[in-house]
């Protein structure tokens, strides 16, 4: 960790470039399937393999999804944008050039608002641009040879470039998380770094605090998770600050993050010069995004995470922090909202989703729909708690069983005999028994040891076999013990 002193002398300036794969059925310029996980070179054709004489044809869905993202990020959607060729040699690039956008990208400007912490105002991170491009294939390096899989070649990507507005590794992490939430909410991308459909490179520099001039920019690559990104940026900031304090100059270079060593090191000096010789792609017409198209996409926009958060706070009385937890994943927020019509107690629904549901999802490692019962069933369970048919604790037991067996709420409660007893006379009897058997403790309680109340409650519950309505126990015990 950089020392507090170093942090106050210097300021970190960070920009992120994120490549996100678009959720289309087929590739960007050919009809091959974009499905993940197929055997190598099984989703290929002459076009995405760069065979002689083949030509690209734009998949229109790509344009729609990119516009949707551009609108969500408050970008200006260019009515006319063009494709360009980025030329370089590498085995995973079949044509020897990548079709991308250069001079005239689809989306310009824009911003993301990062939710402020503890009620603080949101932090606005500006974007430079969002543009379309195709992905390359994948190299696999073995000891004695390298293999190329072209399944990924030609998949549609958007490249989202931020201004260097980020000031810490933590902010960078927050930016990535918000961007990921947005692309998932919009169903524009899966946003999965581990699967490789959401990739991030960072540009990191430092400068004396108060200076307006930018320091030498270091590009950091090879970060495969949010944690890697934060750790790599953290390391790089520290490295640069230490270098500057030691009087060294920062080399403007590309460095790779090594997660095992938790360090960055410079990439091997390039054998191939990086003059990409960009020129307009002659095989593709300019991309037209007329007002009618943009308006049509805007009309079909799903609600964004920020909009949901605001709605939860303003209309449902949920705290900002809780709203963030609930909206971290669209499926979770949808699940929560599905409970609301069934369960009138918003607070209970929110708590349940944030604790029981989220825990089960994380523990099982599965998708929400696989890990927990449908919202209707869980809603029914919570309704039983509302009606005091079962205790909250009993509901937790029931929930676990429902997740395992797939049975409905009523069935599980009946099978496990979880219905709680609210019969006052039965509970009163149990209370009397407990108090009579613990006269010393009763005296202590009456003498001032308030904490013993919980002990009595526990004892009564034990006598009742765990099935008494705790509210009723409380009421009756208080009556018997008198006020203190």
């Amino acid at each position: 960790m950089a020392s507090a002193l170093a942090l106050s002398e210097y300021e970190a300036v960070i920009g992120l470039e994120v490549h996100s794969q678009l959720l289309t059925q087929s590739k960007c310029f050919c009809a091959c399937s974009s499905q993940f996980g197929a055997p190598p070179n099984s989703h290929v054709c002459p076009v995405c393999m760069g065979m002689p004489g083949t030509l690209p044809v734009l998949n229109r869905r790509v344009l729609e999804l990119a516009i949707r993202l551009g609108l969500a990020a408050h970008c200006e959607i260019a009515p006319r944008s063009t494709f360009a060729r980025k030329n370089y040699f590498y085995p995973d690039l079949p044509k020897g050039y990548q079709i991308s956008q250069y001079d005239e990208p689809l989306c310009v400007g824009g911003y993301l608002d990062l939710p402020g912490e503890d009620g603080a105002a949101p932090r606005r991170i500006r974007l430079v641009r969002i543009h379309l491009e195709e992905d390359a294939g994948k190299n696999v390096h073995l000891p004695d040879c390298s293999l190329v899989d072209f399944n990924r070649s030609g998949l549609p990507l958007v490249e989202i470039v931020s201004e260097p507005d980020l000031r810490s590794a933590r902010e960078a992490g927050a930016y990535l998380r918000e961007l990921r939430a947005i692309v998932r909410y919009l169903k524009v991308s899966d946003g999965n770094m581990e699967e490789g459909n959401f990739r991030c490179d960072a540009n990191v520099s430092v400068r004396p605090r108060g200076s307006a001039k930018l320091g030498a920019k270091v590009e950091v690559k090879n970060m495969n998770s949010f944690r890697h990104v934060e750790n790599a940026i953290e390391y790089e900031i520290e490295r640069q600050i230490e270098a500057l304090r030691a009087g060294e100059r920062i080399a403007q270079e590309t460095r790779l993050w090594n997660p095992d060593r938790a360090t960055t090191h410079p990439m091997r000096s390039k054998e191939f010069a990086h003059d990409y010789r960009y020129f307009p792609e002659p095989d593709l017409a300019p991309v037209l995004a007329p007002r009618e198209l943009v308006e049509a996409v805007a009309a079909r926009m799903p609600e964004l995470p920020a909009q949901r958060r605001t709605r939860y706070v303003e209309q449902l009385g949920i705290s900002a922090y809780e709203a963030q937890v609930l909206t971290a994943e669209r499926e979770l927020a949808d699940y929560f909202e599905a409970l609301l019509p069934i369960v009138s107690n918003t607070r209970m629904a929110a708590n349940w989703v944030m604790t029981e549901v989220l825990r089960m999802v994380n523990e099982s490692g599965r998708e929400l729909t696989q890990a927990v019962p449908p919202a209707a069933e869980v809603g029914a369970l919570l309704k039983l708690v509302e009606r005091e048919t079962i205790s909250l604790n009993a509901a937790k037991t029931a929930f676990a069983a429902m997740c395992k067996s797939g049975q409905g709420a009523a069935a599980v409660v009946a099978e496990l005999g979880l219905a709680q007893v609210s019969d006052e006379s039965a509970i009163a009897q149990a209370c009397q028994r407990v108090l009579q058997s613990e006269p010393d403790k009763v005296a202590e309680f009456r003498g001032g040891r308030d904490k013993l109340f919980g002990f009595f409650v526990g004892q009564v519950m034990k006598v009742m076999g765990g099935k008494a309505n705790p509210k009723v126990i409380n009421e009756i015990l208080r009556r018997h013990l008198g006020s203190n």
């Binding site: 002689p52 083949t54 030509l55 044809v57 030329n87 020897g96 190329v148 020129f279």
Partner: protein
Amino acid sequence: MADNLCTLTITEAQQLLRSGELSAHELTRSCLERISATQPSLNSFITVTADLALAQAQAAQQRLGQPNPPPLCGIPLAIKDIYALAGVRTTAASRILSNFVPPYDATAVARLREQGAVFVGKVNLDEFAMGSSTENSAFGPTRNPHDTERVAGGSSGGSAAAVAAHQCLSALGTDTGGSIRQPASFCGVVGIKPTYGRVSRYGVIAYASSLDQVGPFTKTVRDGAIMLRALAGADPLDSTCSAREVPDYERALSGEMGGLRVGVPKEFFVAGMQPEVEQAVRAALQRMEGLGAEIVEVSLPHTRYAIATYYLIATAEASSNLGRYDGIKYGLRAEAGNLLDLYTRSRAAGFGAEVKRRIMLGTFALSSGYYDAYYLKAQRVRTLIRQDYQRAFEHCDLLAAPTAPTTAFRLGEKLSDPLQMYLSDICTISVNLAGLPGLVVPCGHDRQRLPIGLQLIGPSFGEAVLFRAGDAYEMAGAEAPQARSR
């Protein structure tokens, strides 16, 4: 005993095939025999596909027995070896693709195949269509049937020679800077370069993406109209291919030229032009006037920048298009211990000298620091050239001009100085830069009986007027170098 069936035109063969006087098999066999007899002296073919041709002829014969067989059913054609023909070696006349067999057809080829045409083989070209003489082929030069000491022209020399020698009834070529028109002129056949975007480029090995165009060589203008109708039209596999409706070009062949205003661009009569070429072209213009056309002089002032503009844009696009030939996925792969060597050795061994020259020139024109001065500037001049033609077409329906400054030159004559070779493209190259259609029809011979071609240039998608004028000129008895009983 050789017969003369292969000397038929498409129009004539269509009639005979339908009347039953001729079978598809007989016609194909006649061409295959002519190929065997003349291939050694001409070297027009890279791959002869006799088995395929005979099988296709058999299938075609079946269809000819049914009502309304397609126009090209049973017609033997040769295909420039730059078009992908599924299952058949497609080399682009290059060592780097000498073993490449595509699993797909070019769209143009597929359309011909659908009509039941017969493919007799893949014909020779300058490597990757880069050249004006077919001397840049890795498979040896193609010789001119009128004089085998001379070139057939380029880059579609094999296609032109094959038609001129009656090895087929028509052949597909491509034209990027004149590669159909100039060989047509040198070999005394009809050649058509349609408007850019009229015919799909899918499956045509790319040289210069914004200039390449598919077109046929034929013996008559009418045959050319038939071929273009079969080839043209929208293709979902090519974003640059126009969806504009394809006219019935044969209907345009009214047989007369009355009322047509023909512009003559004065800049195309270059200094140092072969005098007989100029004479033949001017005589052709007089003939056209005699047929009712009005001849007017026009100016295309930016013509003198056309060659430089072309050799910047075309080579720039080519340097990028040829980046895929890297020894990794298909084609020639040299022995190497590391990636850089694999690239450099495969490409050094696989590409010929002219191809390397153009890749280097194009890479330079696009490189950082030079892009604005060369590539971008060239695109701006291209717009000026286009505007020259637009202005000219305000005053006339088509233009008429020489096709090349000379008739066919000797083999080896222009190889020592590549720039000399480039300069001979002066009459054809600006047409590609403007994306316009051009048609060449024979209009005479020089003293050595070498053919001279008259070039007609039309406005965008104005192929119909070219066919009309070309056909009227041809029908009026312009000297036909195609002696039918050769």
